[in-house]
């Protein structure tokens, strides 16, 4: 059991980070913190990809000039993560612009306050 966990430690870290991110997204009253929560979830998935690309005793995926297989981490998950990081920050930027507009409209960043105002409309 302990060995099974030790052999997959970072995967468990991923599981925990996903949970924390989800908690923030669901429970944080502050919209900015909700967005951070979403980011947390995303970085957890990045870690998942990076970890599964890893190979014991290997090196970064810089390959030799011959057509010979070397022992390198898989480049494909890295590419996925690179793309996803950029996508993630882009979405975050849009979310923050929306938050600024919401602040102008509702004068609050707390979801409960905003919902209260909307109910009273």
């Amino acid at each position: 059991m302990i060995e099974a966990v030790a052999d997959r430690l970072l995967y468990f870290v991923v599981a925990v980070l996903l949970g924390i991110g989800l908690y923030m997204t669901v429970a944080s009253p502050n919209l900015v913190k909700k967005v951070i929560g979403v980011n947390l979830m995303q970085t957890a998935v990045f870690l998942l990809f990076v970890t599964l690309a890893f190979v014991e005793g290997g090196s970064a995926p810089v390959v030799s000039q011959e057509a010979v297989a070397g022992r390198h981490a898989s480049p494909l998950p890295h590419v996925i993560v690179l793309t996803a990081i950029v996508v993630g920050v882009a979405v975050t930027a849009l979310a923050l612009v929306l938050i600024i507009r919401l602040y102008v409209g509702f004068e609050s960043l707390r979801e409960d306050v905003i919902q209260e105002v909307r109910r009273n409309d």
């Binding site: 468990f12 949970g19 951070i36 014991e56 970064a60 810089v62 390198h72 993560v81």
Partner: protein, 180 residues
């Protein structure tokens, strides 16, 4: 694989930082802790043989995202911090805890980290193809660059579109026009 002390301490660090982000009531504090978290992740990525990812995470995750967050706080307000810690929302803890438990449960079925028998690594037509033929086919030694720019250039095109889309989207959201 034997777990190194560095790895364990980094794992502990990112988890603690994540918890800190979640529970600090002061948004500014949460942002700062989140930036530290991102840096921790970047180091972890390096450990996992992903320097490209680590650099990007440091620049974008810890850098750009933090700046964006701070600008947002500057434009809005920094939630008052009479209490240090957020009230814990227990139902959400149960939901998130269940989610974590389910994911953790599946983790036992994962191949061990770094195993060269894991199909994600050993698939002859995908990962092994990239590792073997990248230079021959593309003339680039950095396999990540090759996959990014050549083999899966379409994803990268999509990534560029995402950035462009957000730019235009912000114009729409703020009802602005450019070049007028």
């Amino acid at each position: 694989m034997s777990v190194s002390l560095v790895e364990v301490s980094l794992a502990a660090f990112v988890i603690l930082a994540a918890i800190g982000t979640a529970i600090f009531r002061d948004v500014m504090a949460a942002i700062v802790v989140f930036a530290a978290y991102s840096l921790g992740m970047a180091v972890l990525y390096t450990l996992m043989l992903a320097p490209d990812v680590a650099m990007t995470e440091a620049a974008i995750g810890a850098g750009v995202t933090t700046i964006l967050l701070i600008v947002t706080i500057a434009k809005t307000n920094r939630s008052s911090a009479e209490e240090l810690i957020e009230v814990i929302h227990w139902p959400a803890v149960v939901v998130a805890g269940t989610f974590t438990a389910v994911v953790a449960w599946t983790v036992f079925e994962f191949p061990t980290i770094g195993s060269d028998e894991a199909i994600a690594w050993s698939n002859p037509s995908v990962t092994q193809h990239y590792l073997t033929y990248t230079y021959v086919e593309t003339g680039v030694t950095n396999a990540v660059t090759a996959v990014l720019a050549a083999y899966r250039g379409f994803d990268t095109f999509g990534e560029a579109v995402v950035v462009f889309a957000v730019g235009v989207a912000v114009l729409v959201v703020l009802d602005r026009e450019v070049f007028t």
